[in-house]
Amino acid sequence: MTTRTISEARPASASFGMLLAALLGLGIVVLAGHVQADALHAAAHDVRHANGFPCH
């Protein structure tokens, strides 16, 4: 019974972990690649161009 409880509880937390990781990844890509704040844009400029992100 204990194992069943664990195996049933696992998918929910696993899905949450996947979602959180993917959202974190998306946040990093948006921040590094797309936010137009001047300081960020200047620092990441060359990498944005080199990854085909729309820049300027």
Partner: protein
């Protein structure tokens, strides 16, 4: 689950991003710096007496190139977290994740994130004419999500409905069309623009294949230690 994705993703992303940065500094940065001389007007190729194609020697710029290394690693870490989260999702649905098929995950990521948007919005060398930034970013994200979904369906979908959806998802963004500038007024020679786009796609393919390989390897080896 979250910890395992973070570990695999951040290590794979940092390594692939570092590799991308080295290739960037070797092959992309010289083209970019050369184009910036035309963007700033320091070099002119139309109407100028001499249209020399000789590339000026560019040295390393510690601050600028250091930032490129950091942001390249950061960007690929972001890609990696999404890639590994999707690997975990696929594994939960019965797929086998290994280093070798991680290569295919990397190719799929390259198609979704670089090749698909580049088909209508080619990688821009500094100085090219382009439409407003916001519509271009919106189109870029929509295209990447559509192509990513298409790659997932290509790998895991079954039947003609899935294949049909793949075709629609891949074609629609280009049938609709990317935002384009009103006029072509870029001061940069087309030779540099073409070389830049080709280099970006080539370096991107190497980095993405490495990212997929490392993600698959780290994810599958993490599985052995966990169980």
């Amino acid at each position: 689950m979250l910890g395992r994705i973070l570990t695999s993703g951040l290590i794979a992303g940092a390594a692939a991003g570092l590799c991308a940065a080295v290739l960037h500094l070797m092959f992309i940065q010289p083209v970019l710096l050369h184009a910036e001389l035309y963007e700033s007007g320091e070099l002119v190729h139309f109407g100028a007496a001499s249209g020399t194609a000789a590339r000026p020697g560019f040295g390393l710029d510690p601050v600028r190139d250091g930032l490129s290394v950091i942001f390249s690693m950061l960007t690929y870490a972001g890609f990696a977290l999404i890639l590994v989260a999707l690997m975990a999702l696929a594994e939960g649905r019965g797929a086998v994740i290994l280093a070798r098929n991680g290569l295919l995950w990397g190719v799929a990521g390259f198609v979704a994130v670089l090749l698909a948007p580049a088909f209508s919005l080619p990688p821009e060398v500094p100085g090219v004419a382009a439409a407003e930034i916001l519509p271009r970013q919106a189109w870029w994200f929509a295209t990447v999500f559509a192509a990513g979904a298409a790659m997932w369906l290509l790998a895991f979908g079954r039947g003609w409905r899935a294949w049909g959806a793949v075709a629609v998802l891949l074609l629609a963004p280009h049938a609709i069309g990317a935002p384009e500038p009103d006029g072509f007024a870029g001061p940069v020679p087309t030779e540099l623009g073409a070389l830049f786009a080709a280099r970006v796609l080539g370096v991107g393919l190497v980095a993405w294949v490495l990212l997929g390989l490392l993600s698959g390897f780290l994810w599958s080896s993490g599985d052995e230690t966990a169980s």
